[in-house]
């Protein structure tokens, strides 16, 4: 890394760190905005972006060069393979191979809930996760008794086509092919990170942790079923959230490494639940998870999907400086009033506005948000949802970056 790039990387990292530590940095830290638009900006299809490592890397580097921010904007390059991560949680060295499914690895594995552009979807669609019922209500006891064994023996064969029968040659061939493919992907990835370093971005990333009830809802039972389970089998659901907590923590720690010291926790069911249900089934093991991650040396960055307004105050049960609360539809101004000095707040840019507004209006919009959110520090500017569609007007994206440059200085 050249000296300038090193210094730039250090400045960017310091900016983000200061915000998480609830301080005022030199400028407001900005994660950048991107997504499917990265492929469109490079003139390639989403299919190419998802299946051709070289084109993907070129597209990302082009975008990051033209739209610099405090974190490189990578876009959506695959989907999590969380049941597999749990099934193989005793093998941390396999984590990079097993934890994510991208286009080529999905061709090998055939993951039931994955939909990729150019395969099941139009060539310019986004990769999508479509869960369904992989575990029956009668199987709660087995899950509770040994989540890792249960995920390996029962769920993995239902989710991954190539693992239908773990004793069959097909499964072994798929494992070997997966390793070969990931070696190819790894080489491309290293090349991309080298180029990103030259552009002033330190190597790193995020680990992932799930609220235990989300793991059960999204990966095992499917949400409509889980909602019924809360009333039909409350004790079993609760016991299951407690049982999956430890292996989920283990998976998250498996991802820890140089530059990976924060666990992203994308919440899903938070918006679905009343405070009574949230406090009984969701929050206790999520809170425990955040506290345990801290003990294990990791900060948490929780993405509160949808409206989290009804549960906002529970965040105050965590110790001050615990990490970052990333909001989608909860008004960040309202969150700031409650959480200032306690929690770093992230978000603020409504992606709907970036898609549909004009540069002049966006300039005004960013000015207003920064004016309200920057004082006192502890704020990271980010899109409320991480995916700008392909057709997003480039002049609108440019207007956001220019406005951050103009109004983002402390």
């Amino acid at each position: 890394m050249a000296v300038d790039a090193k210094q730039l990387a250090a400045e960017r990292a310091a900016r983000l760190k200061a915000a998480v530590e609830l301080k005022e940095p030199d400028r407001v830290p900005f994660t950048g905005i991107g997504g499917d638009v990265i492929a469109a900006y490079a003139g390639i299809t989403s299919y190419e972006f998802n299946f051709d490592y070289e084109k993907q890397c070129q597209a990302i580097i082009k975008y990051v060069k033209d739209f610099p921010s405090d974190q490189p904007v990578i876009g959506m390059t695959g989907l999590g393979n969380h049941v597999a991560s749990m099934a193989f949680s005793d093998y941390p060295d396999l984590y990079p191979i097993i934890s994510r499914v991208d286009g080529p690895t999905n061709d090998i594995l055939g993951v039931d809930y994955c939909r990729f552009p150019g395969r099941e979807l139009d060539e310019n669609s986004s990769p999508q996760f479509i869960g369904r019922e992989y575990m029956s209500a009668e199987e709660y006891d087995e899950l509770i008794a040994d989540p890792v064994k249960f995920c390996f023996e029962k769920i993995l064969p239902r989710i991954v086509r190539a693992f239908r029968d773990m004793k069959a040659p097909e499964a072994h061939a798929a494992m070997a092919r997966l390793a070969l493919e990931k070696a190819k992907a790894g080489a491309a990835m290293r090349d991309m990170f080298r180029q990103l370093q030259e552009l002033g971005y330190a190597p790193g990333g995020l680990s992932v942790f799930f609220a235990p009830l989300d793991f059960i809802g999204d990966q095992l039972r499917d949400i409509p079923n889980l909602i019924k389970d809360l009333r039909r089998y409350p004790d079993k659901v609760k016991a299951a959230t407690e049982a999956v907590l430890e292996p989920l923590l283990k998976v998250s720690v498996n991802a820890k490494g140089p530059g990976v010291e924060t666990a992203m926790i994308p919440l899903h069911l938070n918006e679905y639940l009343s405070p009574a249900l949230y406090n009984e089934f969701y929050w206790p093991t999520l809170k425990e998870g955040i506290l345990r991650l801290a003990e294990l040396g990791m900060k948490s960055q929780v993405f509160f999907e949808g409206r989290h307004d009804a549960h906002l105050e529970t965040i105050l049960e965590l110790p001050a400086g615990w990490g970052t609360a990333y909001f989608e539809k909860t008004d960040v101004r309202k969150a700031k009033k409650l959480l200032q000095g306690h929690t770093c707040i992230m978000g603020g840019i409504d992606v709907g506005m970036v898609i549909s507004s004009t540069p002049a209006k966006l300039d005004e919009y960013i000015k207003e948000i920064l004016g309200e959110m920057m004082p006192g520090g502890g704020f990271i500017l980010a899109p409320n949802i991480g995916n700008l569609p392909r057709e997003t007007p480039i002049e609108n994206i440019r207007a956001v970056y220019e406005a951050v440059e103009k109004y983002g200085k402390y």
Binding site: D122, S126, Q128
Partner: protein
């Protein structure tokens, strides 16, 4: 008994609501009473949701109860006893394969008396046009969860315009990422990011509220 059904339904007491409905449906004129009471209960659940007292989990549970009860109630009703206040063609737009939001909205819309023609997920623009020609709805509902759906909605509405059908219908868009700005961008008539609001606005578009 109607009162008890209403109360247990709104209180999310599934077993009790289903038990009372089963009993009531066997009495003289009971099926009509069950249908009307469940519709009333769904409306109340929607109202409680919009008031911030109920959440998505209650909408899902209520929708499930409604479907369970209708399964044994509808076969006992005559065609003219199930009045509709209007027809809606409903689908998740091309490129998006999500269905949970659409399905929650669908059962609530049906409970409010809207005849819903569900044309599925990842629906090509032209399929909306064909469905409009075939079913002649007053309303078209377009759903999306992911952000790519926004431009897909815009394109779908353009294709409906090109087919000369836009003036015959009202369009409501729904989903987690839609907003007033998105509605104006795609050229729809209303927007909702939750099912209860979606049903209320659909009824308004039909001139029923």
């Amino acid at each position: 008994m109607r009162e008890e059904l209403l109360k247990s339904f709104v209180d999310m007491d599934e077993q009790e609501a289903v038990r009372i409905a089963r009993e009531l449906v066997e009495s003289d004129g009971g099926a009509v009473a069950v249908l009307e009471t469940c519709k009333e209960a769904m409306e109340e659940v929607g109202r409680l949701f919009e008031a911030g007292e109920y959440f998505l989990s209650e909408l899902i549970a209520a929708g499930d109860m409604f479907n369970q009860i209708m399964e044994f109630t509808l076969p006992k009703l005559q065609g003219d006893e199930v009045a509709s206040i209007g027809t809606m063609v409903l689908g998740t737009v091309q490129g998006d394969v999500h269905n949970i939001g659409k399905d929650i909205f669908k059962v609530m819309a049906e409970a409010s008396g809207i005849n819903v023609i569900d044309i599925g997920i990842d629906v090509p623009h032209e399929k909306f046009v064909e469905a409009i020609k075939e079913h002649k709805p007053e309303l078209v509902g377009m759903c999306c969860l992911i952000t790519l759906g926004v431009d897909s909605m815009k394109r779908t509405i353009e294709v409906i315009k090109e087919a000369g059908l836009r003036d015959d219908i009202k369009i409501i868009i729904g989903g987690g990422r839609v907003s007033q700005a998105v509605m104006e961008h795609v050229g729809a008539d209303a927007w909702a990011d939750d099912a209860a609001r979606g049903v209320r606005l659909s009824k308004e578009l039909l001139g029923k509220e």
